[in-house]
């Protein structure tokens, strides 16, 4: 363990991803759910940047740039949906939203 290499970054990325996934599964508040999703996206970004750096290929960074853009758009739409949902149901709690059941 002399030098920080690719795998260190990747491990950080995996752990961050897992934290985000856990948040998506456990947390009940839709907003926090969204934040967990952002965490997962960021974990992917970190992995991409690390690969880009250590493989000497700038394409990964361009991909990250695009992901950030799409994530921003997605957050905008998602939050708009949450607002619309709240207007109808007066809740941001996932357990109250069981319309996925027949």
């Amino acid at each position: 363990m002399s030098h920080i290499g690719l795998q260190h970054y990747l491990i950080v990325s995996v752990l961050l991803f897992s934290i985000g996934l856990l948040g998506v599964i456990i947390r009940r508040n839709v907003l926090v759910l969204y934040m967990s999703l952002e965490l997962m996206l960021n974990a992917a970004n970190l992995a991409l940047v690390a690969f880009s750096r250590f493989k000497n290929n700038l394409d990964g960074q361009i991909m990250v740039l695009f992901i950030i853009t799409v994530a921003a758009a997605e957050v905008a739409v998602g939050l708009a949906l949450i607002v619309a949902l709240y207007r109808r149901r007066q809740t941001t709690h996932v357990e109250d939203l069981t319309t996925l059941k027949l």
């Binding site: 599964i25 456990i26 009940r28 996932v94 939203l97 069981t98 996925l100 059941k101 027949l102």
Partner: protein, 623 residues
């Protein structure tokens, strides 16, 4: 020369079929012409058979013609004809007696609305029967065997609007099926062991290598005997023949007395080289038992045709017994003479029935001697021949069988044979005395008159045959078949049996005397049967044919019920329960189980999704 003979043989076989087809397709509306065609076909067949026979007499070479027909793997089946002593004799009987009965039917069936159908069926039967007689292999024989069953079915059920006739036809067919099933199994086993179904090949294979059938010999013999049991109505499949009397009387004469029921005996003689001693023992015992049983039942029947039917059963028992006693030539001899006099008796009975407007109860006849002289005299000759009176044909053939039993040292069967001869005389004279002598017992008798010539002439011809059949060398002719090297006894030797085996001959004549005396004592001028009053229990048993029909009905109902119960159980528990309900139940169970997962909660789905991912990753990494 041989080619010409082969051609003749083909013609003999196919003329009746041609007639049947022509009548069935073109002559349904023209009954007279149909009768002419049918009679012509069988008469020409008879003449051609006589030509074949004469040729064969002069140059005794076996005529064989065959065309390859089916070839499935190792099974090569020919469609072939085989004319030797045995089959020529049988073909002569079939076409000869058949011709007379065809002619007789012209008058007997007069006015029936299905006249043409009758003759078509009769021709079809003649064709099938000749097919059995002339076939050169088991497979072909089996096909004709079934065809004979079909035509018998058609003719028994000829008056199908009568429920009893339709039932009798069904009964005959189904009972025959049981025997035929065994027959077919026997043929298959035989083919599997020896690789051939052709009689001549089988004969040479067995002659070359007698051990080839070791282990299955008894099974094969008994299964093939099954076929004969069905067709020749031996115990325990004898129940169909008396019921078959529902058919028109000429049919009873031709099919159920002279020829078809003899097919079983003929087949046994044809393949007599197959049987091992044990199965011969069984065959002989079955024959003897059937003979005794049928003779006993015949004593207390009141329907003229049924008495004759049981008599036929009893005589067939004789023939089968003869085969079992290693005397196929005696069996064939008796078959031939029996064909003559039994056909005559049936035709005589038909004549009586015809004259009395379809009255069959013997206790409503009587005093027909003066009204129907020709029928009376021929019937008397037939009765005497059947009883075995010297010097009529029945004496010689019955003596051949009894002496065979005596010579073989089988005294048990000998005694049974003699006892049956006694019973035969008794019931035949009971029939004869009640029907023809004494006073008229019903009004119909007063208007009775002799049948037309077309009906009486066949009777006369058959009477001549029954009288002479014993000493014109029939047995000597057929003996060639089974022991070609044996020295031939002289023909026209009417005293032969007394010199050859006096015990059998004198025993036979003695019981005839006793039977005759007993019948005279009981039935002379009797107006009703005294036996039911004196021996009620015995009479009831005999009248009800030892309750075989009831027993079979009970047995069949029992098997059917238990089979139905098993099937019902299978259906209820296996099909309905396990398969239908089980499928639906398991689907519903999994459906309910899976429904528990559908909570509608997003996060449950997320968890399951993650679990799935975890599972897949672990599966890929660590499998």
């Amino acid at each position: 020369m041989n080619e010409l003979l082969g051609f003749l043989a083909w013609k003999v076989l196919f003329l009746p079929l041609l007639a049947a087809a022509v009548i069935a397709f073109f002559l349904q509306a023209r009954p007279r012409l149909a009768a002419v065609v049918s009679v012509m076909a069988v008469v020409v067949s008879f003449i051609l058979t006589v030509v074949l026979y004469a040729q064969y007499r002069n140059y005794p070479t076996v005529v064989q013609v065959a065309i390859p027909w089916l070839s499935i793997g190792n099974l090569n089946i020919e469609f072939g004809l085989h004319a030797d002593h045995l089959s020529l004799l049988m073909a002569l009987v079939v076409t000869g007696v058949g011709s007379l009965i065809h002619i007789y039917s012209i008058a007997y069936m007069q006015g029936d609305r299905s006249y043409a159908r009758f003759f078509a069926s009769l021709s079809l039967f003649t064709f099938s029967m000749l097919g059995i007689v002339l076939s050169n292999n088991f497979f072909q024989m089996f096909i004709f065997w079934e065809l004979v069953g079909v035509s018998s079915y058609l003719l028994i059920g000829f008056w199908y609007e009568k429920p009893s006739a339709a039932d009798a036809a069904k009964k005959a067919f189904l009972t025959n099926r049981i025997g035929d099933f065994g027959f077919l199994l026997g043929i298959i086993i035989l083919w599997a062991t020896t690789g051939s179904v052709k009689f001549s090949e089988l004969h040479s294979i067995l002659a070359k290598n007698p051990g080839v059938l070791d282990g299955v010999a008894t099974a094969v013999s008994l299964l093939i005997f099954c076929g004969a049991v069905g067709k020749s109505a031996q115990f325990p499949l004898h129940v169909w023949l008396p019921d078959a009397m529902e058919g028109p009387t000429p049919v009873s004469a031709l099919i159920h007395a002279a020829t078809m029921v003899a097919a079983g005996v003929y087949m046994l003689c044809r393949v007599s080289f197959l049987f091992d001693p044990f199965s011969l023992q069984i065959i002989a015992t079955t024959g003897g038992f059937t003979a005794l049983l049928a003779a006993l039942i015949a004593v207390q029947q009141n329907d003229i045709k049924r008495i004759l039917a049981y008599s036929t059963l009893s005589q067939l028992g004789y023939m089968v017994m003869a085969v079992g006693l290693n005397g196929p030539s005696a069996a064939m001899f008796h078959l031939t003479t029996h064909a003559f006099f039994k056909a005559m008796l049936f035709l005589g009975a038909g004549s009586v029935i015809h004259a009395l407007h379809h009255e069959q109860d013997i206790w409503k006849m009587g005093g027909l001697k003066s009204k129907m002289p020709i029928t009376y005299w021929t019937f008397l000759l037939g009765t005497l021949a059947l009883c075995g009176m010297w010097p009529l044909s029945g004496f010689f053939s019955k003596d051949a069988i009894l002496s065979q039993a005596f010579d073989q040292g089988n005294y048990f069967l000998f005694v049974i044979g003699v006892l049956v001869a006694f019973l035969t005389t008794f019931y035949m004279f009971r029939l004869f005395l009640v029907v023809f002598l004494g006073g008229a017992k019903a009004h119909a008798v007063d208007h009775a008159h002799e049948s037309p010539r077309v009906m009486s002439w066949p009777l006369v011809v058959l009477a001549v045959a029954s009288v002479c059949g014993g000493f014109i060398g029939i047995e000597q002719f057929v003996q060639h078949q089974f022991s070609p090297s044996a020295e031939v006894e002289p023909i026209f030797d009417i005293m032969g049996p007394f010199a050859h085996s006096p015990a059998a001959a004198f025993a036979g004549l003695l019981v005839i005397f006793f039977g005759f005396s007993l019948a005279i004592a009981i039935y002379w001028n009797a107006t009703s049967d005294p036996i039911p009053e004196k021996l009620p229990r015995l009479s009831r048993w005999l009248r009800n044919k030892f309750y075989f029909d009831e027993l079979y009905a009970r047995l069949i109902a029992l098997t059917q019920d238990s089979l139905a119960k098993v099937a019902d159980g299978c259906d209820r528990f296996l099909v309905q329960g396990l398969m239908v309900r089980g499928t639906h139940g398991s689907v519903e169970f999994f459906g309910r189980a899976l429904r528990l997962l559908q909570t509608g909660n997003l996060q449950t789905y997320a968890l399951l999704f993650a679990a799935g991912v975890a599972f897949v990753i672990c599966f890929v990494l660590f499998r």
